[in-house]
Symmetry: C2
Subunit: 399 residues, 2 copies
């Protein structure tokens, strides 16, 4: 049987992630890996989840079907959480998703017909490209910093026979660069989206993990100040408990104008009926035990690791290597001298020093960025981070 003939045309856009294939090779002892980017399981509030499951499983409800919108109790907690973030909204503006990866899939499904334009930064989050690719868009590069003219994007999209549907950004401590958009850049992005009359996708996966400085208002909160009404906002906010509670439960959420949430509830119904009832009730229960103290603990723990990595980079890296100064999140972005290829460096680093990271090219939709690399400090003990940076510096010094 010839399977290929039967596949939808989107399969040409859906390729195995090089990074995921790469990560499979790194699972050796002795290797110090900065390649991951997952939360440290030591920080999971596991005992709180034990208490929560013992409590909620005294009833049958967590095991039964539930509504596509998501658990009402959890949405009420999220409503309060969003109000704290400067986004007063109703529970009808919130949809529970199976992680923010599913939010990105639904956003692709909601907005993108084949050939439609999505604006993405370069580099950007790989998982967003993977989610959007299923809907066969074209990409145009979004330069949030600087004076990129919206007219250029409109003209390029029109030339391709379509229009710009949305601009996608990770404004806080982004994956992969660790960088944060300032308030001015956020306002400028809203101006540009208004001119383009397109949506803004605010991927806030790391927002809660700020280790220094003042929180910058979310793009949705800035737009709310302009419109005064969430149901007239063009920004869709994607939140996640994967970095703050536990990714294995797959619980995230979208906040947006009700007409968009209503459409996404239909998408949810058709694609998996609802996120697991049990998982939503567990998260709700753990949140009710006190989320702020857990966040403080996480921030303190990850801040220490970030500091160790940044200090070690300063101590050991040879001249010509530059790196971002993340105020939060899990990543530091390295820019290597122009002649150094990140993928070739990884090969040498693994062989000579058993140190791993992710070469940066894969994060660029346009294939640039060969001399970049992503380092994650989320899962290393301080000594191991220091040792890893030292090893990487030795490889770089020898190049």
């Amino acid at each position: 049987m010839e399977f290929e003939r039967l596949l939808a045309s989107r399969h040409h856009f859906m390729k195995a992630s090089e990074i995921r294939e790469l990560l499979k090779l790194l699972d050796q002892p002795e290797v110090i890996s900065f390649a991951g980017g997952i939360p440290d399981p030591e920080f999971f509030p596991r005992e709180a989840f034990q208490r929560a499951s013992a409590e909620v499983l005294t009833q049958a409800e967590p095991l039964q079907y539930s509504i596509s919108e998501g658990d009402l109790g959890l949405r009420q907690q999220l409503k309060a959480h969003m109000a704290d973030l400067g986004v007063p909204c109703g529970v009808e503006n919130i949809l529970i998703t199976s992680g923010s990866q599913q939010a990105l899939d639904y956003i692709g499904k909601l907005f993108l017909s084949p050939g439609d334009t999505a604006l993405v930064e370069s580099p950007t989050y790989l998982g967003a490209l993977a989610a959007f690719n299923a809907y066969e868009p074209r990409y145009d590069r979004l330069q949030v910093q600087g004076n990129q003219s919206p007219e250029v994007s409109t003209a390029a999209a029109q030339a391709a026979g379509s229009c710009v549907k949305f601009a996608y950004v990770v404004p806080d401590f982004s994956n992969p660069t660790g960088e944060t958009l300032g308030c001015g850049a956020r306002e400028a992005l809203l101006d540009r989206a208004t001119t383009l009359d397109c949506a803004v996708i605010e991927d806030a996966a790391y927002q809660a993990l700020r280790y220094e400085g003042e929180a910058i208002p979310s793009i949705l909160s800035l737009e709310l100040k302009r419109t005064g009404d969430i149901n007239r906002c063009r920004t869709l906010y994607c939140g996640s408990f994967s970095k703050t509670l536990a990714p294995g439960l797959r619980v995230g959420w979208i906040v947006a104008a009700k007409p968009l949430i209503d459409q996404m509830v239909l998408i949810k119904q058709a694609s998996d009926l609802h996120s697991p009832t049990l998982n939503q009730m567990l998260v709700s229960h753990v949140l009710s035990e006190g989320f702020p103290a857990h966040l403080e603990y996480l921030r303190k723990s990850y801040r220490e690791r970030r500091d160790v990595m940044l200090n070690a980079l300063t101590s050991y890296m040879p001249d010509g290597v530059h790196w971002s100064q993340p105020e939060g999140g899990m990543f530091v972005w390295l820019t290597l001298p122009p002649h150094i290829d990140g993928a070739a460096l990884l090969k040498r680093a693994l062989e000579q020093e058993k140190i791993a990271f992710v070469p940066g090219q894969a994060f660029h939709a346009d294939g640039s960025g060969a001399n970049t690399a992503r380092l994650s400090f989320s899962c290393g003990k301080p000594d191991s981070i220091r040792e890893g940076v030292q090893r990487l510096a030795r490889v770089l010094t020898a190049v």
Copy 2:
């Protein structure tokens, strides 16, 4: 902001389900409802899930990210389960999904470009139409019984500028009719799919709930006898624990040729990374405590309810009303005299006798079936089922 201008063209295909809207109105005390079709929460192995969660949450693993293919232990158990069903396969032929609804979404995503043809029965499972609609197919009616010529389907698809991608069936105790395809009809379907060179989607959601008679080999097992190699089979088998363990956990699976599973692993990665780790481990743990005894308990419990409903129909229904004789599952399908409209009947039934069911027209992609109705016996106590049928008979007698 004009949201509609921004939406993908698929939104024209994604409408709110009339049935779901209807069900929201039925949540009154006093109403006896045959409208649902969900498992009775009294039958959930809740205590087994309590033990399982206490056990698995002693580790951090259920809270961490995991692979897109699904928990290896669970896939090994499913491999053994499939072998028992006459489908020897490898773990690489199995993908864990978030319920079989997600399997249907992925199948649409895998095969359907806009305008492609899907063959569906009339009536068929509404959730399948909802899942496929997101990919903007055209539908052609599949008549599994009888001598429908495959050439007609091919010609219709070609006239629409595309080809037939798959035939979708619920062969065992189908939702909505409760009917089962015999072995001959399954073989004939495989013949037809071979001529059409299309895939076959075998939705086995109710397969384990057989209350009498011999199990009929699954379509995939019949095809395996022909090809001798799962990787050359055109049938995709969709299984679910929603009817046998607990739907709120959203755990199902697909079994298919490896090239198709590989594509769906990419789809899974891009759409939600993986099904929740915790839920897969819980199901695996509960299965290991002994699934067959639980299935026997379920079969005995639901068989009693089916028998009560069928006996009551025989006792109370007026002449001219006919119904299916389900050997398993959760549904009985009523065919009313031609002049009776199911939707109008429901309105009267609710007002006069506080009895609810689902009018059958919604299950027909072509808008036929106005004089049909779906009754579910899954959630009623025997006395309530008997009383409900009596009430419905009174309404029908008075028409």
